[in-house]
Amino acid sequence: MRPTHDESDHTLVAPTTSRSIQLTVNGETYQATVPSRRTLLDLLRDQLALTGTKKVCDMGHCGACTILRDGKAVLSCLTLATACDGADIRTVEGLSAPGGALSPLQQAFIDADAFQCGFCTPGQLMSATALLAENPTPSREEIRAYMAGNLCRCGAYSGIVDAIERASQQG
């Protein structure tokens, strides 16, 4: 994706092939027309205005764009939007109602100061949500292993482990 050609005689591939898809995001049904090369991440952020999910590497390296697809933690930057026709997606915006009570995990993140800049936080929360759904009482080692795909450059890991542990004890 990084054109650094000295000269280019590229001819562009056929006009955009778009299709209409329908998917559920945080319980709401959305219809969207998406070009085949659009990722789920870009669909969420640029078309559905759900900007809680963050773009950090866009290459599957960092975990910041983690969402739940049919309950599984996956990377929205490596998921084609067009392949999500009929999918059930959950993002950070769906963890609690706007203005409503926070989920125990969200509250635990605040209480444990489990973030600094907060840019990786939505992805951390989604992975942690998946973890607690699969394993309601993980050990600290299990937390560290499960969360290793969510990088945090500020180094808030210690608080994140604490937060997940606290939330698991409450849940």
């Binding site: 993140f109 605040i110 600094q116 800049c117 840019f119 560290r144 500020c154 180094g155």
Partner: protein
């Protein structure tokens, strides 16, 4: 009474004079031992809810109607000249709304005049050739392929030693190395007589140490969204310095600063790299003006890692001499710093050698060297992390040779005052840091080996200490508004880059005002609203902005009391405020809330003004000590940090919870730099090979050790009237040295080159068995 004074301000080892406005007398410093209602109490982030719900809007998230997306054609060569550039193909592509390049952009000087916004000569791979704005990012990127460029490839230098060598091709108009005002190469410092010092030494440790080029990898990349309304432009920018961006954009576009509004409400990390204004901040407004539509210009991860700054590689030749009874007698340090293509300063690598220990004979020489790579920038305690790694490694080696205890040896060489200026420090609690760190480490018992993969693990312990600035200073201003509904707004042009400034400084305002924390709303990151505050770097925000917030709150409180005095029918100085309610001093009954009082006077809004007063003449430093426990697998060269104990003297702690997070983060980044972070460049092609988060390794959660962190927490009442020093940078500084020394303790090899990867460690551990291995250098 408003007056103007001159005062010296030190930021990251560089001192400059500021001429600043002092609005009135400053309040007396909060004395040691004072009882607080808010300050010093652990508080949750005031913006926590926004951060855990996705409601925190970062610049990357801004999406004004009609938004265009920018993509950039970048130079594929480390050094080249554009011979021909044809952007017409891109301009013709449907969906493309504007293309900016040297063909149509006006000449805007950049890099201190060494280059232009769009220059013909490009000095690193990744430098901007043309920028396309289109309806969506894919189209913008498609368009880049339709731009035709012919380059003349020029000689390139990416190796710092080769670039500094005599006879090297010149790659920058001002030469390959930094010179001082008189044209002398490098920066020299000397006290005493080093040659004589080494003659007096019984033991001398000597070696070449190197530290890698480390990439910040802030999770939100650099970038902005720019939109014009009439002749005013708004820029949502991911920056550590909104006023810096405002000034740079205004001068580039030749418009008044008041026509440029820079907003940065939430920032996804910066770590020093976002203190500068990069080209995108000017290009996005230009493209927006050209197209009549808002433009989003965010770097992608690859671009971020090529050009947004880095901690430049250092090569340090260090010699340290001590007498048999353990007194340092000479330190000599010669450093090469890779400052990249357009660097104009060298990091303060020699700072620790000059100041950390008592030593009569010191000579340092630092040479900033330009290379055909992205320019360096500040990166969390620039220079001191690198310099401390070398110095504290050598100190450890001296301890071993002299048979001294590491902490005793350091205490023996404790520097009472500043040997550079000859003055006393405003405060220094390094001895307390040593003692507390040692005690916490002892109390913690042996570190846990749980979670280590199978291996032949050896455990070791090492330590390091640190000195750093972090005093900040003026100018910094703030407003505090008391609204007739009883809420409080602090308005200030500072930034919260993730450090928790909103929370800590809300605590300061709540403390001074006598209100609960939850009525305070801290509004920052908007040049149009907040009075000036400095860049969020150099660990200066708390000590610079904190006092201004306190003064503004004090001013607002005084006004409130004067208003309340009418209703209570007693003089203002007989009133008190607690928990947001005013009463006559000494009484509980008859209390009235702020909202209650203000709504009786025509919905009056109180506006308090605050400023940061001049600095004391004494130098201000933060101090600290860290002890690391590591495990090293002898057979595979893997290193795991098991535990880090960190104690720092950062003055008064405002929010212990937030401070701990800062300490954790600094330690983690220190671990990354020590064990895995290293920008790799192919010397033949001059291209960076690992400008991504896969090949450039940062620590994962599984790399995060147990951390025991503490502040000495003694206020520095000479520093400023809130008694706090900065805390963001200190915890990274001694981390690499402590780990390297622990590795030595574990397996008996001295690693002088970071990062300590399995490769480096195995080459050092088993060189005899590896005839083909590289020279390990130790």
């Amino acid at each position: 009474m408003t007056r103007v004074v001159k005062t010296k301000v030190e930021i990251e080892g560089r001192v400059h004079e500021e001429t600043v406005v002092v609005e009135r007398d400053e309040p007396a410093a909060w004395e040691a031992g004072r009882e607080f209602a808010q300050v010093g109490k652990s508080a949750n982030r005031v913006d926590g809810r926004d951060r855990v719900t996705g409601a925190a809007h970062y610049s990357y998230d801004m999406h004004p109607a009609g938004l265009l997306y920018a993509a950039v054609l970048r130079c594929p060569h480390p050094h080249a000249r554009i011979v021909a550039l044809d952007t017409s193909g891109a301009e013709r592509l449907p969906g493309v709304r504007g293309v900016l390049s040297k063909n149509n952009a006006s000449d805007i000087p950049w890099y201190g005049g060494a280059s232009k916004l769009f220059d013909e000569e490009l000095r690193f791979a990744g430098e901007e050739v043309a920028v396309v704005a289109a309806d969506d990012l894919d189209t913008a990127r498609d368009a880049l392929k339709l731009i035709k460029v012919e380059y003349e490839v020029l000689p390139a230098l990416v190796d710092v030693e080769k670039a500094a060598a005599p006879g090297a091709p010149t790659i920058h108009p001002k030469g390959n190395v930094l010179v001082d005002e008189e044209g002398k190469r490098g920066d020299e410092f000397s006290r005493g007589d080093v040659a004589q010092g080494f003659r007096e030494a019984d033991v001398i440790v000597e070696g070449t140490y190197s530290t890698p080029t480390a990439l910040h990898n802030s999770f939100e990349t650099h970038g902005c969204v720019a939109a014009w309304e009439g002749d005013e432009v708004t820029i949502w920018e991911s920056t550590q310095y909104i006023f810096g961006v405002r000034g740079r954009v205004a001068s580039a576009l030749k418009i008044p600063v008041s026509k440029v509004r820079v907003i940065s409400e939430y920032i996804g990390g910066g770590f020093g790299s976002k203190g500068q204004t990069l080209k995108h901040s000017v290009i996005a407004p230009l493209l927006s003006r050209m197209t009549g539509r808002p433009v989003k210009y965010m770097l992608d991860r690859h671009e971020e890692n090529l050009l947004s700054g880095n901690r430049g590689q250092t090569v340090q030749k260090l010699r340290v001499g001590a007498t048999r009874d353990g007194n340092l007698v000479a330190i000599e340090l010669e450093t090469l710093c890779n400052i990249g293509a357009y660097g104009t300063w060298a990091a303060s690598v020699p700072g620790p050698a000059q100041e950390l220990y008592r030593c009569p004979n010191v000579r340092t020489y630092t040479l900033g060297v330009r290379t055909n790579l992205g320019s360096h920038s500040a990166f969390r305690a620039p220079g001191h992390v690198e310099g401390t790694f070398a110095l504290e490694s050598a100190m450890d080696e001296l301890c071993r040779q002299l048979g001294k205890d590491p902490i005793e040896f350091r205490k023996k060489n404790y520097a009472e005052g500043d040997q550079v200026s000859g003055k006393a420090y405003t405060s220094k609690y390094l001895l307390e840091s040593y003692d507390l760190a040692e005690r916490l480490h002892a109390d913690a018992g042996p570190p846990s080996l749980e979670g280590l993969p199978p291996g032949n693990w050896r455990v070791g312990t090492g330590m390091g200490s640190q000195v750093w600035s972090g005093g900040g200073g003026p100018p910094a201003h703030a407003l505090v508004r008391l609204n007739s509904d009883g809420t409080v707004e602090v308005i200030c042009g500072t930034q919260d880059i993730g450090t928790g400034i909103r929370t800590a400084l809300s605590q300061v305002a709540a403390e001074e005002l006598g209100v609960p924390l939850d009525v305070v709303r801290f509004r920052l990151g908007d040049t149009q609203k907040g009075p000036f505050a400095p860049a969020s770097w150099g660990s200066i925000t708390v000590p610079s902005v904190g006092p201004a917030v306190r003064v503004a709150a004090e001013d607002a409180k005084q006004q409130l009391m004067e208003i309340a005095s009418y209703f209570f029918e007693v003089p203002a100085d007989q009133l008190q405020i607690k928990d947001g309610h005013v009463t006559v001093e000494g009484r509980e009954e008859g209390k009235r809330s702020i909202g209650d009082l203000l709504s009786e006077v025509g919905d009056y809004m109180i506006v308090g003004k605050g400023f940061r007063g001049p600095n004391p003449v004494e130098p201000l430093r933060t101090w600290g000590a860290q002890i690391a426990d590591v495990a090293v697998d002898l057979e595979t060269g893997r290193v795991r940090v098991l535990r880090v104990v960190a104690v720092h003297d950062v003055g008064r702690v405002l929010n212990p919870k937030g401070l701990e997070s800062q300490f954790y983060g600094g330690i983690l980044q220190g671990i990354g730099m020590t064990l895995m972070e290293d920008r790799v460049v192919d010397e033949r092609t001059g291209l960076v090979l690992n400008a991504n988060l896969q090949d450039y390794k940062v620590p994962t959660m599984a790399d995060s050790p147990e951390m025991i962190v503490r502040a000495v927490d003694i206020p520095d009442t000479a520093a400023n009237h809130i008694g706090s020093k900065g805390a963001g940078e200190p915890p990274i500084i001694p981390t690499p040295a402590a780990i390297a020394n622990a590795i030595y303790d574990a397996v008996g090899v001295r690693v002088r080159h970071l990062p300590v990867t399995p490769k480096r460690l195995l080459e050092t551990l088993v060189p005899a068995q590896l005839p083909w291995s590289e020279e390990s250098g130790s």
